[in-house]
């Protein structure tokens, strides 16, 4: 009968419905369950405060300043246009700007949309107290603050919003869009420790995205505080000393590798708008101590002297005569002193910084040996200090020259190499390590600047012995002592009354410009507690400006009882 088959048709259709439900609710059920949860759950991150940074005595170098932002909560706003109108009148600020910021920063109806950043405290309080501004909130936002500004800028670096390129690289490590990321300095290299753990609120929302309930809350965990090896008193003093100059002063405890001060000038103030520094003279963002490379000039003679003694090319008593120049091949290589220094042995040659003596010593050993010792003293490699983007400098060899320049290595190259000119390029920090080798009975120390992460001491400042003989060290040390303490020593201006100081000056020639002035040294001569490097770009004779700055630094250290 027809009704029976009609029943079959209708039952068949119903069976299809059940099949459909089987597919939707059983087979795909889990997927749809997740989708329905995504519909209603929103995560609002609570940014974690960054860890503070302080110097070795606990003086804060980086912390947070509370600033006041003006925000609008869309969910609670009745009349947006009139609210914006009132805000722009009260502050006062351009209405268009507020509207622009609002549309740019809008994310969800229940999160305050930031429309004005860092308004004056009085304005913020006045706005917050007004009753006719429904939906307006004053958000207190901690902003990174550096009490010593430019003096510590290169060591600390800055923080900024993560770039899309960085985000791509760091996403696997839990970084998210709009996260703050350290750039340059300790902020960058210790970002992982400083950044802390963001907390968050889990909200339940309805179809319009309005908050219905709070499901969960996890407080943000502040990042680790860092303690640096810096002494801000010294750092600040040196920064003012270098004001107006382009250069570097870096002070280290040679035994432990702890950096007491590291100043690169010119600098920038990280608390200010950085764009103004972008066009500034002298590349203020460059950390010259670790990133700048220069010919070391005569300071490199410390390496040559150690090498010659160690390799037995000369004895401490061996002497060469300096007539003021040396003929090598077709060229004539000058000593800095016209008429020459006459007959002299190693200690005297160091004291006078005699070029001819070191030309000859260099020629005796040959360039490969010099390069070998340069590397032994830490040149051509990064020192490993915890500051990012460090330069390795460069140590040339005849092989390199043949490959890279397609030229042979001449004796003239060796002579230049021996007095720290030519292709050799070093960072001030590398020269500091070199000086510290002599200061510490032949140990090459790894400089470090972070003393503690939270309460935990950082193991740093590893050193290894270069196996230089006691004799070698004492002769070179004697030479460096006379540099500062002999009446005709090139570094006599570095002397400070009441302090034992040894050192070496350098005047690195720069083609077409005034020479760079160098001074490296340490104090006291036995069991040195501080070694230092001074560089003044285009400062002329190392014995003058650089040595004078060194003296001021040593003097200050004495006052601070660091020496």
């Amino acid at each position: 009968m027809r009704i029976r088959s009609l029943e079959k048709i209708l039952s068949g259709l119903f069976f299809l419905l059940i099949l459909g439900l089987l597919y939707l609710q059983v087979i795909e059920g889990k997927r749809y369950r997740i989708q329905s949860q995504e519909n209603i759950i929103r995560l609002i991150p609570i940014p974690a405060p960054r860890g503070d940074i302080s110097d070795r005595n606990g003086v804060v170098l980086a912390d947070h300043r509370l600033t006041f932002d003006v925000g609008i909560v869309p969910q609670e706003t009745e009349n947006l246009t009139s609210l914006i109108e009132k805000i722009s009148k009260a502050v006062p600020v351009d209405r268009e700007k507020v509207i622009r910021e609002y549309s740019r920063n809008f994310s969800t109806p229940f999160t305050p949309v930031k429309v004005l950043e860092d308004v004056a405290k009085e304005t913020a309080i006045a706005l917050a107290e007004r009753r006719d501004l429904q939906g307006l909130v004053v958000v207190v936002t901690p902003r990174r603050h550096y009490p010593y500004g430019a003096a510590t800028a290169h060591v600390l670096g800055i923080v900024g919003e993560i770039s899309s390129r960085e985000l791509e690289r760091l996403r696997p490590y839990g970084y998210r869009i709009k996260d703050l990321l350290g750039e340059g300095g300790i902020e960058e290299s210790f970002d992982n420790y400083l950044r802390g753990e963001d907390g968050g609120t889990q909200l339940k929302v309805n179809n319009r995205g309005y908050k219905v309930a709070t499901l969960g809350y996890r407080p943000a965990k502040k990042g680790n505080d860092l303690t640096l090896t810096l002494d801000i008193r010294l750092q600040n003093f040196i920064y003012s000393l270098l004001e107006g100059k382009q250069g570097v002063v870096c002070v280290m405890d040679p035994a432990t590798g702890e950096i007491l001060a590291l100043v690169s000038s010119p600098s920038f103030d990280p608390n200010e708008d950085l764009s103004s520094f972008l066009s500034a003279e002298g590349r203020p963002f460059l950390n010259r101590a670790t990133q700048g490379v220069y010919p070391p000039g005569s300071t490199f003679k410390v390496v040559i002297a150690s090498m010659a003694l160690e390799e037995g090319n000369i004895h401490p008593e061996s002497s060469f005569s300096c007539p003021g120049f040396l003929k090598i091949g077709k060229g004539s290589f000058q000593c800095w002193k016209e008429g020459g220094h006459g007959e002299q042995h190693l200690v005297e040659a160091l004291r006078h910084s005699c070029n001819v003596f070191f030309y000859r010593v260099g020629l005796l050993s040959g360039p490969d040996r010099i390069a070998e010792y340069a590397r032994l003293f830490g040149f051509g490699e990064k020192s490993g200090i915890e500051l990012p983007h460090e330069s390795a400098g460069f140590v040339p060899t005849p092989l390199w020259k043949r490959i890279a320049k397609r030229e042979g290595w001449y004796d003239g190259d060796t002579a230049n190499f021996a007095i720290g000119q030519g292709y050799l390029a070093v960072t001030p920090l590398q020269l500091l390590r070199m000086a510290s080798v002599i200061a510490t009975d032949g140990k090459l120390v790894d400089p470090h600047i972070v003393k503690q992460i939270g309460p935990h001491e950082v193991k740093g400042g590893r050193s290894h012995s270069l196996s230089l003989s006691e004799k070698t060290l004492s002769v070179v040390r004697e030479g460096m002592t006379e540099v500062v303490n002999a009446p005709d020593g090139t570094g006599r201006y570095a002397a400070v009354e009441g302090l034992e100081i040894a050192g070496k000056t350098g005047t690195a020639q720069v083609p077409g410009k005034n020479s760079h002035a160098w001074f490296v040294g340490f104090s006291p001569i036995q069991n040195a507690r501080a070694s230092l490097v001074v560089l003044v770009e285009h400062g002329g004779m190392g014995g003058l400006v650089a040595a004078q700055i060194a003296a001021s630094v040593f003097q200050k250290m004495k006052e601070l009882e660091l020496l």
Partner: protein
Amino acid sequence: MKSFLKKIFPSGFDHFFFWTVVVIFLIGILFLYSTSLNRDLTLKGNYALRQLLWMVLSLAIFFSVLSVNFKWYYDLAYVLYGVNLFLLILVLLLGRATRLGAQRWLDLGPIDFQPSEFVKITFVLAVARFLSGKDLTDRLRGNLLGAFCLTFVPAFLILKEPHLGTALILFPILFGILYVAGFPRNFFAWIFFALLMIGPLGWFVLKEYQKQRLLVFINPNLDPLGSGYTVIQSRISLGSGWLFGKGLFSGTQNRLNFLPERHTDFIFSVVGEEWGFVGSTGLIFLYLLLIKRGLAIARRARGEFARLVAAGLTTMLGVHIFVNIAMTMGFLPVVGLPLPFVSYGGSWLTSCLIAVALILSVENERGL
């Protein structure tokens, strides 16, 4: 009541059919309450309460329909049909614009009256009357033309409202009646073939929003926040119910307002979300029982008119159930057909109960 029923039902009242309807209706009330929970639970916002009030009115009509001698429906079939057509024309003339841009209601003071819901019944009566007592083998073509005309006129008027879904739903009901009436089987094959051919031409007749609905039906992600939104959210509601559902009154899609039209056309999605696969198939089984029982009554009917009325009205209910549920699953376009006894809506509830009353009356009828 027992004596009342005895009096008007000498040959028996199908309690099973009736009580299945009541159970389905009560389940509907439960879910209407659930969809009202995030509104104010006053008379204004509480769909369950309002539906119960509609039920009181509908039951009065239900018992009136039961108490009328079934013979009268045969006599009055064309009159009722004619009055209903008149009301449809009235809607077109006086009907007020709704927020959806369609005119479907007659405003009768506190009550909105939707004649297109009642035409689903009166046209069944008219077609059944027209076909009963005719020798189909004799004047097949004439009978066919007459039955189609009886369907086309109200379909056209409803299409003008415009309400495509209701207009189109009349045809499967018609086919159900024609089938039961004994039209040759190959005729239905021809109809099917012809629809397949003409169907695509219908595209040009469609209004822009109707085209949009069809496009979105093919790919809901075409416009996920616009026309596709309802389908996507409906599927999420159903699917997220999983096997046992999120629990009565606990559907997040429902309670947090993600599902539009959830008290009317999409109420089945709420059932699926809160009661899961178990609950939604359970409801389908109840409907299946209802349909089987309705057709059983049709089978037992002694007269041709009664048989066609019972089969036609049962088909009417069955087709609505199928199209509505398939629509919530996204397997058919959103055509705006409500679910019998469950979807909120006074006219619809009343016409469903009239259908039930008529089917029950068939049991009482002899000899027509």
